[in-house]
């Protein structure tokens, strides 16, 4: 624990800018993953333990696409779209077969998918770490904001993720589909009784969730390394985000993802050995004070 360093950081603008940027990156990427977890949980009442696998595969698909096409744009698109498709296949082929049965069956299927794809990734891409490298266009001198170093790629990442958050928020509140999704999150039976095609709706929700996770994995690939099993820590953090934000709440997911991101950003300064633990402590504290989460409806 180094509170002195934390104090020193908080009083210098350079350090604040740098740590905030890294916190925002973590937070925004986490939001993209957690938004899918919370959407799927909200609409289908399914805890998708395989969501981290979408994130991991999105990263690997982007890595390979970049190698083949040399276009970062295409790589990100490929990561997101392939995982949207994967999400649909996962829902149709596996999860849809155990709707309404024991929760344990859903859990078990997700567990199996995690195990299978962790090994498949090892077989296809090897067990070693891969670095995707910064896209060429961004290999330029960093920006300096208030004395803090901000690589342009980071700024772009935050921008893209923020854009997606806005699109997602608007889409949920303005479009017909979005309203249906939100209604289904409140009462799926009622929505089904009103004549909405829930089969299609569930598939769409998994497509959106999978696509967002794949996008996050692809976006993160240049700043983090790729390795089999990398999805799991992201999964746990997105669970924490979902729980803190309130199950099924997109706004809650955004707020708590940013909170977790910032706790991480500044935690590495104040508690370098215990950053992970810090996040759990935040989670436990919030659960004790507000068991339904920051934005959750009272249970």
């Amino acid at each position: 624990m180094d509170l002195h360093a934390l104090g020193a950081c908080l009083t210098t603008s350079a350090c604040v800018v740098t740590q905030t940027t890294s916190g925002l990156i973590v937070g925004m990427l986490l939001f993209l993953v957690a938004a899918g977890v919370t959407l799927i949980f909200g609409v289908l009442k399914i805890v998708n333990f395989a969501h981290g696998t979408f994130y991991m595969l999105g990263g690997y698909v982007a890595y390979t696409t970049l190698g083949v096409t040399d276009s970062y744009m295409l790589a990100v698109l490929a990561g997101a779209l392939s995982m949207a498709l994967f999400g649909v296949v996962f829902e149709r082929a596996l999860i849809s077969r155990v709707y309404g049965s024991n929760v344990l069956m859903q859990l078990l299927i997700c567990y199996a998918v995690v195990l299978i794809f962790d090994d498949l990734v090892k077989i296809v891409w090897g067990p070693e770490f891969h670095a995707m490298g910064m896209p060429q266009a961004f290999q330029v001198p960093p920006l300096f904001i208030a004395g803090g170093v901000v690589p342009p790629f980071y700024a772009v990442l935050i921008g893209i993720a923020a854009l997606i958050a806005i699109v997602l928020g608007l889409g949920l509140s303005m479009t017909r589909l979005g309203k249906t999704v939100r209604a289904a999150a409140i009462n799926a039976q009622m929505v089904s009784a009103l004549g909405v095609n829930t089969t299609l709706l569930f598939a769409i929700v998994f497509a959106v969730g999978g696509g967002l996770a794949g996008l996050a994995g692809a976006l993160a690939a240049p700043v983090r390394s790729l390795s089999p099993g990398m999805g799991f820590s992201v999964l746990i953090e997105s669970f924490i985000v979902t729980v803190i934000g309130g199950m099924g709440s997109i706004a809650g997911a955004l707020a708590s993802a940013l909170l977790i991101g910032l706790v991480r950003g500044f935690g590495t300064i104040g508690f370098p050995q215990f950053t992970d633990g810090l996040i759990y402590i935040v989670m436990i504290a919030i659960l004790l004070l507000r068991p339904q989460g920051l934005f959750g409806r009272r249970l």
């Binding site: 333990f49 344990l104 069956m105 078990l108 195990l115 299978i116 077989i123 759990y280």
Partner: protein, 319 residues
């Protein structure tokens, strides 16, 4: 209807016979592989059966049960290495420690809605796991606790000898399972089934729901800790993998595979799973891939644990 005292005696008799057979085997035929298997099974059986107290009896889906297994192993190994306590005392203290830990974690978790439960328990497991990994000076970090367990003798048994370890584990596991069976057959066990069946009605009968759930969680945590103690004895130390999430997944699979509605289901499931893991490990390094496919076949095809399956078939036959 059978008298309940008689069914209790019958169970004890069955357990005694089973234990006797297991204890006699090495005198007839020594097989290190078999003895190894029984030692690991005794640990896994306690772990899975204690999980089933939550999952099958109470309907509480915990995905973090492995944390108590890991805690039990670490608490026991650390006490053996760092203190002069005798083995049974250290084992009892380790179980006590795990029970208290389960009480604390449970106090936070059981009041939350059941939807949250799987999330939160897994998050707590990862908290424990990250503490184990990062508290290197105490736990040895990702290398685990090495250096073996000293003074491994108990009542003249030397647990460094595989035969003695085998006997000790079998006795502990059978006693532990009997205790769990007794709890499950007690009024409290019945209360847990009531909660699983119909929570709101149970509340109207005067049962304090959160308290019943918390006790169940605490008891299950304690028995998982006992399983962890046996695991620590077997590996002669403790490793972070014992507290990692795939371990919880394995226990859930064992429970489902054997059957959640039969008391011995998880034991059978644990045995099948261990045998499967061993067989797969001999063939390929991609155990996850194979295990995952097996799980999918089970979840989409069989959909019911082996013992539950047999019980349903049996009752159809007898009708």
């Amino acid at each position: 209807m059978k008298g309940n005292r008689r069914s209790g005696t019958r169970e004890t008799a069955i357990a005694a016979v089973a234990l006797l057979i297991v204890l006699v085997v090495p005198f007839v035929h020594r097989s290190p592989a078999f003895e190894d298997f029984v030692i690991r099974l005794s640990s896994m059986a306690l772990f899975a059966t204690s999980l089933n107290l939550l999952v099958g009896n109470t309907g509480m889906v915990s995905f973090g049960h492995g944390m108590f297994y890991g805690l039990g192993a670490y608490a026991f190994a650390l006490m053996m290495q760092m203190t002069e306590l005798s083995l049974p005392v250290a084992a009892m203290l380790a179980v006590l420690f795990t029970t208290v830990a389960a009480l604390c974690v449970g106090a936070i978790c059981v009041r939350l809605s059941t939807d949250y439960f799987a999330f939160i328990t897994l998050a707590f497991q990862m908290l424990i796991y990250s503490v184990i990994i990062s508290w290197q000076s105490l736990t040895g970090g990702d290398q685990g606790l090495r250096g073996g367990l000293p003074r491994r003798e108990i009542f003249g048994f030397d647990l460094a000898s595989q035969l003695h370890l085998y006997q000790c584990c079998a006795v502990v596991a059978v006693l532990g399972l009997l205790a769990l069976r007794h709890i499950s057959a007690s009024p409290f066990g019945q209360t847990l089934r009531m909660i699983r069946d119909n929570e709101s009605r149970t509340g109207f009968l005067g049962v304090v729901l959160w308290r019943a759930r918390l006790w169940a969680f605490t008891i299950a945590g304690g028995f998982a800790g006992l399983g962890g103690v046996l695991a620590a004895l077997f590996v002669s130390g403790a490793y972070p993998e014992l507290a990692d999430w795939p371990n919880s997944g394995q226990a859930i699979f064992a429970v489902m595979l054997g059957g959640i509605n039969s008391f011995l289901g998880p034991v059978l499931g644990a045995a099948i799973l261990l045998a499967l893991n061993d067989a797969v490990a001999r063939v390929t390094e991609y155990q996850g891939l194979v295990l995952g496919i097996v799980i999918l076949i089970f979840a989409l095809g069989l959909r019911r644990g082996v013992l539950d399956f047999l019980r349903v078939a049996w009752s159809k036959d007898s009708q």
